[in-house]
Symmetry: C2
Subunit: 205 residues, 2 copies
DNA sequence: TGTACATCAGTGAACGCGCGTTCACTGATGTAC
DNA sequence: TGTACATCAGTGAACGCGCGTTCACTGATGTAC
């Protein structure tokens, strides 16, 4: 970082980074513009050279989050290779991995109260992320006889709900609320049982 | 309500009611003491006759919420009658019903960032609620051969996670994010598939 | 290579605002005699 | 039944604070000639 004086060099990125740390630490509501500016070594007013204000910064972080998220999911899904089942399970693991590795982004996306329609770009990339999950579900559900096959959107909604629930209830650090099981294990077994219920895994084991 | 002048009569209850409305409308972070006081027709300072401050009021609301929650769950579980399965499913429905009917309480409990150990009474009643869910899971899992039976705590954690995920992602009013399915249906089918995966429901249908 | 100047990313002071909380007070209520 | 007085739930003014945002400004950078 060549912050040799008056001009910061890459303030935009530094602000986002500072905001992410604050959000991860104190929640999306505890994040303030002024504090992010201070953490980036800059006057609050300087933020307005790069963002339209607090909400705009938050929206940008959510947008970046969805971008990373969609990318990770696509990578994990790997176009359904080697098998629809393996790809699906990899996608589920990627979900949790994202939540753990990018807590600030995750919170900005799902806990900041920001609307997914705040900006068109945000809506677009959120839709892209959702589409990956749904595609993974659709591919996998092709192995179910059509007449007992739930809609792929419902399938993926179930998995998304369970993943999100595990993150919110059991993967956060609130002391005393600690889960009796590691979140990864919880989610993996949960998804396993669910897939067995769909007849996509053998009933035993 | 006999609020005939200087003395309010039942300010404590009125404040809680006002706070609940505000939390449900604007989220637990959007709730302010001053606004609640104003909604109750009273000066902010009057609040301090009944609560130690903002946090104390929030904790009391969460406590009340857990109380109602635990009661509803116990009622729905009905000591495992008529069957462990029916009781379990009723409990799941009660979870969602609680989230819908008491949104302010639900948010104060799960989204306000309040620690379940904020006060001993809060910890106690939260434990009571958790115990009902776990008991329902334990009873039901007795119908599974012991060697392929997951721990009841894990079982209930799965259901809790899916329920919470459905509430957060699909039962909230954020326009545009509306689920493709009604939350009740989503949760019911999700739990159904999960139970089938445990061999507690017949594989067909 | 050096100078003049436009561009632009930052400063710093100030704003109005609503917040939670405190304090001395006052008006209503209820009880003792 | 009436009066004196203690209790207590409310008022209203004030506080210090940090927030997001604005504004005129200034110092650094980069480009034209």
């Amino acid at each position: 970082m060549a912050k040799a004086g008056y001009h910061h060099g890459n303030l935009r990125a530094a602000l986002i980074e500072a905001a992410l740390r604050l959000i991860a630490e104190k929640g999306p509501q505890g994040f303030t513009l002024s504090e992010a500016a201070k953490a980036a070594g800059v006057t609050p007013a300087a933020v307005y050279r790069h963002f339209d204000g607090r909400d705009d910064l938050m929206a940008e972080i959510a947008r970046q989050g969805y971008e990373i998220f969609a990318g990770l999911m696509e990578y994990a899904f790997n176009d359904g290779q080697p098998t629809a089942l393996a790809a699906f399970e990899a996608t589920g693991r990627a979900y949790l991995a994202f939540a753990r590795r990018y807590p600030g982004h995750y919170m900005a996306m799902f806990e900041s109260g920001i609307s997914v329609n705040a900006t068109p770009q945000l809506a677009a990339v959120a839709a892209r992320a959702r589409a990956v999950l749904e595609e993974a579900a659709r591919r996998l559900s092709e192995h179910i006889p059509p007449e007992k096959r739930p809609p792929a959107a419902m399938f993926s909604a179930h998995i998304w709900a369970m993943s999100h629930g595990v993150v919110e209830l059991f993967a956060r650090g609130a002391p005393g609320t600690r889960a009796p099981f590691p979140p990864e294990e919880l989610l993996e077994t949960g998804i396993g049982i669910y897939l067995r219920g769909l007849g996509l895994l053998p009933p035993d084991c």
